[in-house]
Symmetry: C2
Subunit: 423 residues, 2 copies
């Protein structure tokens, strides 16, 4: 697309009150805009990245038999009352009143905004599950979550309103749940590998819902607000809450490696919830032996908007964002260095059209501004490949990777070949 | 996909309290589920149809330069206060308090749930628009809207929570706004034609925002809750609120045709809003002459979940839904009539695999239930083409269109050719 038409323009100064790198860079580069504390508009560039993140997540959820759907965001109090999660955590270890938006409408009906969807899935399952033949079920959606965090901070990493992909699975037996739980864990690992992250899977507490450990996918990041401990040799890892040893000790699992302490950003969390929800809400199925039994339930979450922020935290420099190609908003940033000669304009147009014909997505900086401003914006926005056409380059195209200072001159033909190889 | 794994199963009995055809059929066939009055889960089949609807809308919005983004759903009272739309319509012709969900959180902050997004777009524009060079802007999103309708009825046609694609455009001049308004009107006509609707574009009142007429896309449907008048010869049409003539009169526009009265479902609504919002909210740009001027603003909406319901209202029979191919959840419903002989099962699997390899989307009824139940579910779900493999058909495949009683026998090779021709 032509950058002269892209909404909105980049911003030179740092946004007020921005503490985190993702906040500063995503706002300045025009990916997100803050409506109020903890609430963000995904601008066209930001939406493009999130759409790519969602696509990767969707492919891996479908690959393990997840069925996409979409559940409502406004929930009746009655459903949340069934598990006791409507209440205050002061009175009730399960209560979520402090972070759940709850209200009464002008007709006196009480609602919660989607804090999570376990209760809603359970309500759906109990209407449709009859026998063991109806299990297992694996459903997911991409939808909005609302959490009234006391302090919304860290840019888009911790919002009061954010996107979540949440998958829910129901099973006849614990063994079937745990087998599927491992499948989801592996699917999550594939997703975070495909997204380009360096991450660790760490054990975390099961809380009050399950005696099982839960698992978190943690992206290694110096700016992360979590702390994890992991083995430098095997796959063992635990989060700070449950880890009882010391940094530098021998790994309790492989007995060979050493325990490393690191800062991290939690990007995925999976819960083998067991039968607690089904017992509370009466989600029963008839087994082969004719007995009514509660379903075994798991829930699995990834926050695509949090992933957007985490990508920036782990991949940027002092000039701006550095997108991994698989999530970049465009494959190529084409800079037309304005010139009196009309040849440059027509050659830029030719490059743009040829690349577009090859289904290579190009942001074409056709604006009437100086080359310096264009190069600065290009580094800020962070598209993986910068192409320049100018009077100087003539009929050749200048190629520069965002991650590299080296500049090379290629024919348009060669540029297309290289870009196609990268796809 | 295998129907034995599809969530949930179909329902034999009509849902309690269902008045409209879309409510009865979409619930029974497993496309939607009601969480509470006016609030629906889009189940996997329903989500597939909405994804197809959204794709058609997205293509046409992009074709007229619309840039996709995503705005928040929880809005601060302050923004809605700027236009006066926070208030009650009893005191204020613009007020929307009666249908807007408004609440105060436990920290005393006041919010509205997204009733529409004009104020939010305006807040975004005033942060980024500086001069005439930054205009025009055309942005859209697919997101959730909340309207506390006194009586939620008509199935998914009128929910309290529903999906909306809303496009917003901002311009330097009235002429530019009106030119773009016509472009959007044409894009909407393309969308509704591609969706398979018989529709009319009717003039409607501009309300308090503009002296201009607004326009509605109205699908002709006997069960619709709107009434429109249109010419049987030219494109003239008006909704009931502004029409002042009588049915059967000569058309006031072409002077040749006759005025027809019809029931209809409003599926699109476009508003040339003018400068009212920009003046209230201070969305100004600097023109070529150095003067600060308010932007000209338009808003344009389509409800994809309403379209889902309208499609069922206009295309069904006593047995179930009849999906138009372009929005059908699957292209083909493959019925395997169970048999003692393993040949049927392996041939069904061969048909399924071959079609899948050709990127033809198949719902394969592999369930252990009788042929009668399978045929009934097939008609209820309404996929355009039914293929049957059974002991009787041997190595041939039985083909039946959902809209036709004729049954034909083809080789698998011929079936694939026919389906590819239809794509």
């Amino acid at each position: 697309m032509r950058q002269s038409r892209l909404f909105p323009r980049t911003i030179r100064r740092e946004p007020a009150g921005a503490e985190s790198v993702n906040h500063k860079l995503l706002v300045r580069a025009g990916f997100i805009d803050q409506l109020m504390a903890g609430s963000w508009t995904l601008l066209p560039l930001g939406w493009r990245v999130v759409a790519r993140i969602n696509r990767i997540i969707r492919e891996e959820m479908n690959a393990i038999g997840g069925q996409e759907m979409l559940m409502p965001l406004l929930h009746p109090r009655s459903v949340w009352g069934e598990t006791g999660r409507w209440g205050s955590a002061k009175d009730n270890p399960l209560g979520a009143k402090e972070v759940m938006y709850q209200f009464k409408d002008i007709r006196g009906r009480e609602y919660a905004l989607s804090f999570t969807h376990e209760e809603i899935v359970m309500d759906l399952l109990r209407k449709s599950i009859q026998s063991f033949k109806d299990l297992p079920v694996s459903v997911y959606h991409f939808s909005t979550k609302f959490r009234n965090e006391p302090r919304a901070r860290s840019g888009i990493l911790r919002g009061r309103e954010f996107l979540m992909k949440d998958l829910y699975s129901a099973h006849a037996t614990e063994a079937d749940l745990m087998e599927y739980y491992e499948k989801v864990k592996n699917a999550y690992s594939k997703i975070f590998s495909r997204l380009g992250f360096t991450y660790r899977v760490t054990e975390a507490s099961g809380g009050v819902f399950t005696e099982n450990r839960t698992h978190e996918h943690q992206v290694l990041a110096d700016t992360g607000e979590d702390t994890i401990f992991y083995c430098n040799t095997c796959e063992w890892g635990q989060n700070k809450e449950i880890f009882e040893g010391k940094e530098g000790e021998r790994c309790p699992s492989c007995k060979k490696g050493k325990i490393i302490k690191a800062r991290s950003i939690e990007v995925g969390n999976i819960f083998p919830l067991g039968t607690w929800y089904a017992e509370k809400m009466g989600v029963l199925y008839t087994d082969r032996d004719g007995k009514r039994k509660p379903v075994w339930f798991g829930s699995y979450g990834i926050g695509p908007t949090r992933v957007l922020g985490a990508l920036v935290e782990v991949s940027h420099d002092e000039k701006g964002i550095i997108w991994f190609p698989q999530v970049a908003p465009f494959a190529v940033h084409l800079i037309e260095v304005k010139s009196q000669k009309s040849k440059v304009k027509s050659f830029a147009e030719e490059v743009y059209n040829k690349l577009s014909e090859e289904n290579i997505e190009v942001l074409w900086d056709d604006r009437d501004v100086g080359a310096g401003e264009k190069f600065a914006d290009c580094d800020l926005i962070g598209i993986p490949v910068r192409l320049v056409v100018s009077e100087k380059t003539g009929e050749m195209v200048e190629w520069k990777d965002r991650t590299d200072d080296r500049i090379e001159l290629f024919s348009l033909h060669r540029v297309i070949d290289r870009l196609k190889e990268m796809q």
